[in-house]
Amino acid sequence: MVSLPRNRLPLSAERLRDLPFGSRDIGLFLVLPGLILFSAFMLYPIAFLIYLSLTDATHAGTVIGGDASLVGLQNYVELFTDRLFWNSIGITWLFLAVSLVIKVIVGIGIAMLFTHSHVIGKRYMRAMIIIPMGFPPIFTITIWRGMFSSARFGPLNEMLAMYNGAVTWIAGVVDSAVFFMAVSAPEFLLVDMPVAWLSGRWSTFFAYVTTEVWLAYPFMVIIIVSALQDVPAELHDAAKVDGAGYLYRFIHVTLPAIKGPVMFASILTAATSFQQFLIPWIFNRGGPARQNELILVYGYREAIVNHEYAFASAIMVTAIAFIGVFMWLAVKKGGLAEGVGSE
């Protein structure tokens, strides 16, 4: 998005008409194979999904072959009165909101640090910091599953053990320094070991958010860095001359300049969070006890594991409705359709 507007050069109508090409509609035949392939694997399944959501199909096998009959909106009625559905919608939006806020803060923080004039070798470090983006999601997410291992010697538990050790050590030092009374490490500073990360509702949620932020930060950083580099240095200098402090310059010069790109990146990354499937599925399948089922996990489980095809279709249609809003927002806010109508 950031790099597009300046290279986009829509052909004008006159220019196109001037081309000494023959038959006009040959273009349609060139587009058609791709369009058919795309429709067969994307649009047709969506239409079929909507049909499924209006039937009483239970298994993949009953979908075609006359075993399923139309039941109208019954699945949707059932869905909107299902406690699990509202839990899933709630946790999905909470996941989206919490990770979005952290992503924006972390993204701006990293981008500002790695463009800071005092940082030496920042170009090389910027190339390194986006490395996580270069790995397949299934790779990074399974690594994070290992990081959050509940084993006593899992990496994060091991770090907590080091932290506990450090707290106890400091307490020991204080104890020997303050000779007139016995000091021991205060209980509230110590972590109960080992932490079963993926067995508690909110520790699982924390693990999801951490991983989601880690997956998304390179994208945010790329967008924000290129936005920061577009901020004219004269603006900062002028503000400095006027005696503006660092915070004032950040709020009144930097933020307004990067607001647009950050907004656009936020829409895209929020949409990705909404559709997050791999993190919950690989970590603990939306557990424990289905408390953290993001919407796609909820639908997938109802279909593939619980064999409630029609009901699951209703969930997925609801999810697609939300995704559709995101798609529309992204195109509208990103100004992406500008190049379309070169009529």
């Binding site: 791709g34 399944p45 996580p132 291992s149 690989i282």
Partner: protein
């Protein structure tokens, strides 16, 4: 070295010591942050080199570097046949995805960029809707797709899976290549026409050679689409047809308490390395594509 220059400047009185201190603090915290953020990758790398050493044990998070060995890689590549079989399956899928999508995307992008025909604007609007946001759409439609495939007997086919990835890759990549072709000046074609070139010659001699970088990016993205995807492959395929990503997941979840971390790590790194290399060598291209395409690809 900028740092050494800075120190000299401070010594000779050209620069205030505070400036140097600022540089040191800022650089230090940047390096620290980098280490924290890349820790998981580093952990995986060391794990893959620590076969037979007490990993995830009381010895600490990392094994002793002097005990590093390549045993895990030898196991994954030579002793065990899983990786090789899955690699073959992945290559079949990726080959289908890349060849099919390129053969429909290039003509499509050309037509959308250079021709006018009925429904052109509508098709473009449709495609652009699917360019940015929609990674989850294929999961949402997966259950309908699965039902259809099972009924037509098309599940458990690497060919159909490859076709499916090609189908989902079309809007984004067609749009990408179309915008790339829009930037090729029309005057080149006009000049060729004046010299008496036929339509086909213009496409072959002007458009295609000039589109090479764009086609390369599309190739990378379609390759990644086939190589990286996991959940649809896992749902549709039976174990004998598992691709690398599915085998990786099975390895990570094979035992509830005893994931074979070293072998998993070696497998994972062998799986991710081609992708990482592509990103590394095509970084500027991919970045310009990414800043347009969001998180997809």
């Amino acid at each position: 070295m900028k740092l050494i220059d800075d120190i000299r400047a401070v010594r000779s009185g050209h620069k205030r010591p505070q400036e140097l201190a600022k540089s040191l603090i800022a650089t230090g915290s940047a390096v620290g942050l980098l280490v924290v953020l890349l820790f998981p990758v580093y952990w995986m790398l060391t794990a893959s080199l620590s076969q037979g050493v007490g990993l995830m044990s009381s010895d600490g998070i990392f094994a002793d570097p002097s005990t590093y060995n390549l045993d895990a890689y030898r196991y994954v590549l030579i002793e065990d046949s899983t990786f090789r079989e899955a690699l073959l399956n992945s290559l079949v899928v990726v080959f289908v995805t890349v060849s099919v999508s390129l053969s429909v995307i290039i003509p499509g992008a050309y037509a959308l960029s250079r021709r006018r025909f009925a429904g052109r604007t509508k098709i473009l609007y449709g495609y652009v809707l699917f360019t940015q946001v929609g990674a989850g759409l294929s999961i949402a439609t997966l259950i309908a797709l699965y039902a259809l495939f099972v009924n037509f007997g098309l599940d458990n086919s690497l060919l159909v899976l490859g076709l499916f990835y090609a189908g989902t890759a079309i809007p984004f990549n067609t749009w990408l290549l179309k915008t790339f072709m829009d930037n090729i000046p029309v005057s080149y074609e006009e000049a060729a026409m004046v010299d008496g070139a036929s339509q086909w010659q213009v496409i072959r001699e002007v458009i295609l050679p000039l589109s090479k970088p764009g086609i390369a990016v599309v190739l990378v993205f379609t390759f990644l689409a086939g190589w990286n995807e996991f959940i649809i492959a896992q749902t549709l395929l039976q174990s004998e047809n598992y691709t690398l990503s599915v085998e990786l997941y099975s390895l990570a979840t094979s035992g509830r308490y005893s994931t074979p971390w070293t072998e998993f790590a070696a497998f994972a790194i062998l799986f991710a390395t081609p992708v990482a290399l592509i990103y590394f060598f095509a970084q500027s291209y991919v970045e310009s594509g990414l800043s347009f395409g969001g998180m997809e690809g």
